[in-house]
Amino acid sequence: MLRQIEGSRAVAEAVAACRPGVISAYPISPQTHIVEQLATLVRDGALGTCRFVNVESEFAAMSVTIGASATGSRAYTATASQGLLFMAEAVHNAAGLGLPIVMTVANRAIGAPINIWNDHSDAMSQRDAGWIQLYAETVQEAADLHVQAFRLAEELSLPVMVCLDGFVLTHSFEAVDVPDRERVAAFLPDFRPRQVLDPDDPVSIGAMVGPDAFTEVRYLAHTAHLRALELIPRVAEEFAETFGRDSGGLLHPYRCDDATTVVVALGSVLGTIEDTVDELRRGGDRVGVLGITSYRPFPFAQVRAALRTATRVVVIDRALAPGTGGILAADVRAALTGVAVPVYTVVAGLGGRAITRRSLGEMLLRAERDELEPLSFLDLDDARVDRELARAAGRR
């Protein structure tokens, strides 16, 4: 049933439909509406015996879910930005322990300078933590991805991060069909942990592993991600069968089949890019979009195949790696190893800067003439930057 609701509420209701046993969270914008909704649902008794634990930090929030998951309860948390960084040590630990925790990241910039608005710097900073990272394009997909996330996490014994753009998706109202409990119950069986803390069958979890076996443990973590590459499309297919709509999967190609210029991006900006592509297509330009849903594991072979007709690729990076440039772009380049097409990195939408159709359109026209620099910044205020650079030069 379609309802006009806030993105955060859709996510909260989808999580609730997944029957979590323990929820723990620390408030941070723009994640707050999600956990407020869940706290209310728990208080209302809508989640049975589920415990909502208010903690003193994000580090504790992730740690509570670690303890709960290792004890055999389905565990969930949500955070953003500084919060994700504050819990980083435990984020890596959850993956190392193979605990199928699901976490929402309401993507937000990282300070300094402090900025509460949307970009992907937070989740990108944890790209090597060992979590699966899925990026939602719409509120509907954000809700759906959470249901798929628990399935993936529990089948793989890996934690899953569902990333949705802060404010742009968390605080916007859309017509959403939140997965209903009945069908979620059919799609998502009860949690059967790989191992569990049980006095009747004691195990030690979290031993110290030395040089003799550490490489093997890490290798096995990599193979779990390779398995995820196979499972993610299967789960998306099964989701489509159960719920009657496409959500998730590895990639979202749009008008790519004959495209010579392909834009690669992830998250909510895909909608704006698709609109821009439609416009350019009306003028006869062979332009397409490749949306990445599964950023970790990164589907190298699938990306390469989806870009087979491209003679140039433009990657929209909503995060910056100072000193190197694009983060997503580096993976796209790796996917195209040996393929002689230029890959342009366009850093865009940092700290909530709007990415408009007009800017995208102008940028793409330049790209089609191969006039883009290898690394450029969309809508950069050159005058302001030049002034500051001149001042800095004067101080030296």
Partner: protein, 331 residues
């Protein structure tokens, strides 16, 4: 889980409890059917107070709950020496996550058990002093404040021993560590710093706070048993001498723990909801010098010229403890 049969070799009347006592009056360790939560074969140093304390604490907790205990362990010596993969010395369900998050992980375990309706299973979290008073303190304070049903045990050896004897927030004044070396006029760890965790725990007004040492193991067992009979957050602070870090002989672990109590440098007491309810009175009080002198970490205080001023300063701290906790009979 089946109990591991334990062979006792009676070498003296006080070793594992007096056989002449009624079984109900014997110590947990004297019971050949005790759980032996931490088995032999681990990698702790000779004379390790922490290994001794942990075995007594957990065996007592297992007995008190009929074997229904889950343990969460912070990073540290206890974790490293007990679980070198693929071996484990633990015979109970045991989880190690990180250095600073044991209280929060324990909260998660307790929350999951409650959600699953398994309130018969109890949670014990344990850490060294670094994992408790420093890196884990925020999480511990949060756990206390929320009222989570966890017994948190700190095995306090007064420095970061696992990483090679660096100062912690529990290192006592004048003690030399590798990061508070007593060089030239520098006196070791400074006076006036550090945290008194039992009193900080009391400030949270939790149901039960107790201190103990490995010199009085019956007292330690009794406090664990008492703690497991209470719900909500409970805190047990156990002084565990470390021969490596203290520069003491392995055979002196128990003696030093006893001297810490008898000098009043380590007051042994119980508190409920923020108020002291019982103290271990000192029958024969010892001067702090007797406790300090056998320890290498205080060697710079003695000899010629030594630092009698610092010894006097430490004596002042002991005197304050006597007053604060009423450790001596009034005459």
């Amino acid at each position: 889980m089946a109990a591991q049969p334990i062979r006792f070799f009676q070498t003296g009347t006080h070793v594992v409890g007096n056989r002449l006592l009624d079984p109900a009056d014997r110590s947990v360790q004297a019971d050949e059917h005790r759980f032996n939560s931490l088995t032999s074969g681990h990698r702790a140093c000779q004379g390790c107070g922490e290994a001794l304390g942990a075995r007594y604490v957990l065996d007592a907790a297992m007995r008190a709950t009929g074997g229904q205990v889950v343990v969460v362990n912070a990073t540290g010596c206890l974790e490293v020496f007990s679980t070198p993969y693929p071996e484990t010395a633990w015979r109970l369900p045991w989880l190690h996550s990180l250095f600073g998050n044991a209280p929060a992980v324990a909260t998660g375990v307790a929350a999951a058990l409650h959600a699953q309706g398994r309130d018969d299973v109890r949670v014990v979290a344990q850490a060294g002093d670094g994992g408790t008073v420093d890196i884990g303190f925020g999480a511990l304070s949060g756990m206390f404040e929320r009222g989570d049903d966890v017994l948190f045990v700190c095995y306090d050896n007064e420095a970061y021993m696992n990483t090679g004897v660096q100062r912690s927030g529990a290192t006592p004044p004048a003690a030399a560590t590798t990061t508070t070396p007593a060089v030239g006029p520098a006196p070791g760890a400074p006076f006036g710093q550090g945290k008194d965790l039992p009193r900080l725990a009391m400030a949270h007004e939790i149901p039960y706070v107790a201190t103990a040492t490995v010199a009085d193991l019956r007292d330690l067992e009794a406090k664990v048993t008492r703690a497991m009979g209470i719900h909500g957050p409970r805190y047990l602070h156990v002084l565990v001498p470390c021969p490596l870090g203290w520069g003491s002989a392995s055979r002196d672990t128990i003696r030093l723990a006893r001297l810490a109590r008898d000098t009043a440098l380590f007051p042994v007491f119980e508190a409920e909801f923020g108020e002291v309810t019982a103290v271990s009175m000192l029958r024969e009080r010892r001067p702090v010098r007797e406790y300090l002198e056998p320890q290498g970490r205080y060697a710079h205080l003695f000899g010629d010229p030594g630092r009698p001023d610092l010894v006097a300063g430490i004596q002042t701290l002991a005197d304050r403890n006597v007053r604060r906790y009423g450790l001596m009979e009034e005459h």
